[in-house]
C-alpha cells in the first residue's frame, strides 16, 4: 500500500475548483463577446482551431508551454514553502543573460559540453538572483515580496544595459546580443517546427519537482514550513535553511526557463525578450493548485489561450486582448472559490 502522491487532500472540491473557475471564465467571456457584438461559439471555435488545428499550432502550444511551465513550477515550489517569490520574471531574465553571454563567448567549448553548461549557468544565475532576496530575508528580515519585485526591475535594467553595452551585437545595429552559436542551441524535436527539446526538459522538471516535494525529506520540510512555520520550527527544523533552499530552487527553475528561451527560440537577448512569463507564472501556479502536475495543465491552458487568441482575432474578429480577460477571470474566480471554501470549512 502506498501513500498517495498528493498529500494535502482536502477532498474533491479542491480539484474541482479550477474547473469551475474555467467554466465561469468561459461563460463570462461569452457574455463579453456578445456585448461586443461577436459570436461566442465562433470565437471559441477559432481559438481552439488556432491552438490545435494544425501541426504547426500544436508545435507553437509546446513552445509557449515551456517557459510558462518552468516559471509556474518555480512559483509553485516557492509558494509551497511559504516564500512569496514574485520575482520569477527577473530570475528568468538573468537565466537568459547567462545563456546569451556564454553562448556568444565560450564558443570554443565542444557542443556536448557547451549546451549543458549554458543551461546549468542559466539555472545557477536564476538561483543566485533569487538568493539575493533569500539572504536579505534571512539576514535582515526584508520581506521577499518587496525584494523580489524590486529585483525584477533591476534585472530588466540589467538586460537593457547589457544589450546596449557589453553584450551588444558585433554589428552594433540593434540593441540585442549576437546569436548564440549552434553548439549552444537546444535541438528541435521535428524539423520544420519550432517545438524543441526544452519542452521535454520542462516536463522532466515537473516530474522532478513532484518527486522532490512529495518523495524527499527536503520537499517534506519545505511543505511543512509553508503550512505552519512555527510548529515546524519547534519540531527542530532550521526554517531559514528550508526557505533559502526553496528560493534557490525556485530561482533555478525560472532561470532555466529564460535560458531555454534564448537557447531554443530567440537565440538572442534583447530588451522586451519576455512577454511577462514570470508574472503569468503566478497565475499558472495558482491555477495549478501549486501541484507540479496541476501546473503542467495550467501552463498548457495558458499556452492554448495565447496561441489561439491570434486566430480568434483573425477568424472571429474578437480582440486577442479578450484572452487576458479570460485569464484574469479564471484567477479571480479561483480566489473567490478558495475564500468561499475556507469560510465553509471554518463554519
Amino acid at each position: 500500500m502506498t501513500a498517495p502522491l498528493v498529500v494535502t487532500r482536502l477532498g474533491a472540491a479542491r480539484y474541482a475548483a479550477p474547473l469551475v473557475a474555467l467554466l465561469t471564465a468561459l461563460a463570462v467571456s461569452a457574455c463579453l463577446i456578445l456585448l461586443a457584438g461577436g459570436d461566442p461559439f465562433a470565437a471559441l471555435q477559432a481559438l481552439l482551431s488556432g491552438a490545435f488545428g494544425s501541426p504547426d499550432a500544436w508545435s507553437e502550444v509546446g513552445v509557449r508551454t515551456c517557459p510558462l511551465l518552468l516559471t509556474g513550477l518555480a512559483v509553485a515550489i516557492a509558494f509551497r514553502a511559504g516564500v512569496w517569490n514574485i520575482g520569477a520574471e527577473g530570475q528568468l531574465l538573468v537565466g537568459a543573460v547567462m545563456v546569451a553571454w556564454l553562448g556568444t563567448r565560450a564558443t570554443t567549448l565542444p557542443a556536448w559540453l557547451l549546451l549543458p553548461a549554458v543551461l546549468c549557468a542559466a539555472a545557477v544565475g536564476g538561483a543566485a538572483w533569487a538568493g539575493i532576496a533569500g539572504v536579505l530575508r534571512t539576514a535582515r528580515g526584508v520581506d521577499e515580496v518587496i525584494s523580489t519585485i524590486m529585483l525584477n526591475f533591476i534585472a530588466i535594467g540589467l538586460v537593457g544595459w547589457l544589450v546596449h553595452g557589453p553584450l551588444m551585437e558585433a554589428a552594433a545595429t540593434y540593441p540585442q546580443s549576437d546569436a548564440v552559436v549552434a553548439a549552444a542551441r537546444l535541438p528541435r524535436l521535428f524539423s520544420g517546427y519550432r517545438v524543441h527539446a526544452g519542452a521535454l526538459l520542462a516536463l522532466a522538471a515537473a516530474a522532478g519537482t513532484a518527486l522532490l516535494l512529495f518523495r524527499t525529506v527536503l520537499g517534506f520540510e519545505m511543505r511543512a514550513v509553508g503550512l505552519n512555520p512555527i510548529a515546524t520550527r519547534l519540531a527542530g527544523l532550521r526554517t531559514t535553511g528550508a526557505l533559502l533552499r526553496a528560493l534557490a530552487l525556485s530561482g533555478a527553475l525560472a532561470g532555466l526557463a529564460g535560458g531555454i528561451e534564448v537557447s531554443a527560440i530567440t537565440y538572442r537577448l534583447y530588451g522586451n525578450f519576455s512577454p511577462g512569463y514570470g508574472f503569468t507564472a503566478i497565475a499558472v501556479a495558482l491555477l495549478g493548485r501549486l501541484h507540479p502536475f496541476g501546473v503542467v495543465l495550467a501552463a498548457l491552458f495558458f499556452a492554448v489561450l495565447d496561441v489561439g487568441s491570434l486566430s480568434m482575432q483573425r477568424a472571429a474578429g474578437v480582440s486577442s486582448v479578450l484572452v487576458s480577460a479570460i485569464q484574469a477571470i479564471v484567477i479571480f474566480t479561483l480566489l473567490a472559490l478558495d475564500r468561499w471554501q475556507r469560510l465553509e470549512a471554518a463554519r
Binding site: 498529500v7 512529495f214 518523495r215 511543505r223 510548529a231 519547534l234 527542530g236 527544523l237
Partner: protein, 503 residues
Amino acid sequence: MQPLLSLRAISKRFGALQALTDVDLDVTAGEVHAVLGENGAGKSTLMKVIYGLVAPDRGTLTIDGRPLRLRSALDARRAGIGMVHQEFALVDALSVAENLGLALREPGERLWHPARIRAAARRLAAEVGLDLGELDAPVGTLPVGTRQRIEIVKALAGRTRLLILDEPTAVLPPEEVGQLFAVLDRLRRQGTAILFITHKLHEVMALADRITVLRRGRVVARVACCDTDGATLAGLMVGPLATPAEPRPAPPATTSVALAIDGLSVDCHGSARALDDVSLQLRAGELLGIAGVDGNGQTELFEVLTGLRPPTRGRVSVDGQVLSRFEPAAMCAAGIACIPPDRLRQGVVGAMSVADNAVLDVRLLRRDGSWLMRPAAQRAVAQELIDTYAIKAADLDAPVRALSGGNMQRLIVARALATEPRVIVAANPARGLDVAAAEAVYAALAAILARGAAALLLSTDLDEILARADRVAVFYRGRLSQPLERPFPVERLGALMAGSEAA
C-alpha cells in the same frame, strides 16, 4: 443605592465553549469595579455583552432599573456606555483634534470644520479634565499613555456614565500606569462608573472598590477591595486548591543535573523585564512545576528554552553542556523537547496528515541517513507512535486537524518523546483535555522521567502542578521563587503568586 447597570443570569455559548454561565454583575455610579480572571475566564466576552458587541444567549441587562436591549455598540453608546479597547482605534497620521473630530461628529454632518472640531476637542478635554497635550500633534508621534487618554476622552464623549476598560495597563509602560490610575480616580470622583478588566492583582488592590472574580465563565466571588487581599484573590482566580495527590516516588537527590538555568533575563522594550534573573536546576528524573498567574514570565521562559527567543542575558546548560545558540533546531539537538501550549498553532501542521505530523521532527525519518521520503518507512514510524501511545487515528492519511484534541496532544507528546530528549518543556500540556487524555500525557512523561530525563511543567492550573510536580517554583513579574518541596505549603504558594511574599 440603585446600581447603574445590572446584569442578571447572563449566559453565552460559542460552539462547544460555554463562555459565560449565569453571570450577575452590578455596577454603581462612582465606583471602580474590577473584573478579575485568568485568560479565557470570560472577562472579555462579558464586556462585549455589556458594550453590545456580543448578544447573550440568556439573561437580562438593566440600566437605571430599565431593561436594556443592545443590538450594537451604537445602542450601548446611546445608553451611556463607553469602552476603551486594548487595540486603539486611532488614525496615526491625523492630529489629536482630528481624531476626536472623527469620533465626535454628528451623524449626517458632511463638512469638515477644522476650527469647530478643535474647539470641540478642547472643550471636551477640559470637561473631562484630561491632558491631551498639543491638539495639533499627529497621534502617531504621541506616547502610548496619551493615546490611551485620547481613547478615554472618545469613550467619555456624549453622556457616558459607564466606562469599560479592557486590560488598559497591558499596553502601558509601568511609569504611565500611575497616570492612568490618577485619571480613573478623578473620573470616579466625578461619578462615572468604571469597569476595569485585568488579571493583575496588584492593580486591582491599588484601584478597585469592588471586585468580581470570574473563573471558567462563572462568577466565583464578589468582594469589596477592603475585605480581601492578593493571596485570597489569586486563590479565587485559579480555583479551589485540592489536596495534593499522591506524589510520584521522589527521584533520588543524588542524581545529576539535567537542565541548569543561570541568571536568565529577557528585557522587553519599554516595560518591565519579562524574565528577571531566573535561575533553576532540574535534576534527572524530576518534574519541576512552574506556577504563577498567566503573563508573569511563563511564555518567555518557554520561548527561551525552545529557542524561539534569545535571552538578553544568562546561560542554559543541558547535562553540563552550555548552549551557545538559541534556535529551535539547536535546542532539539541539545536534547530539549517541547510540548507547546497551542496545539494547532505550534504543535502540528493542521493541513498535513497524521503520518506527516508524526515525522515532523525529521530526525525520526532520517535515522538511516536517507534523504528519500519512503512512505512505508514513514508509516512505520507513525504506526509505532500510534501503537505505543494508544492514539486513536483511524486513517494515517487524514489531516491531523481531524483528530480530537486529546489524540492530537498524544501525537505531539509521542513525537517529542520519540527522540529520547533529556529535558521536556511542557506548557499547559493538559489544557482542554479530558481526564483519560491528560492521564495518558502524564503517564508518557512519567515513563521518560523514569528513564532519566527531566521535565519542566509550565501551567497556570495550580491543581495540575500540585498533583504532578515533585517541586514547585512560582513566577511573579518575571522573577522565579525558590522551588518549594512537597508537601506544598498552599498558603505560601498563593502569597508568592500574588507577589505579597518576596521570592
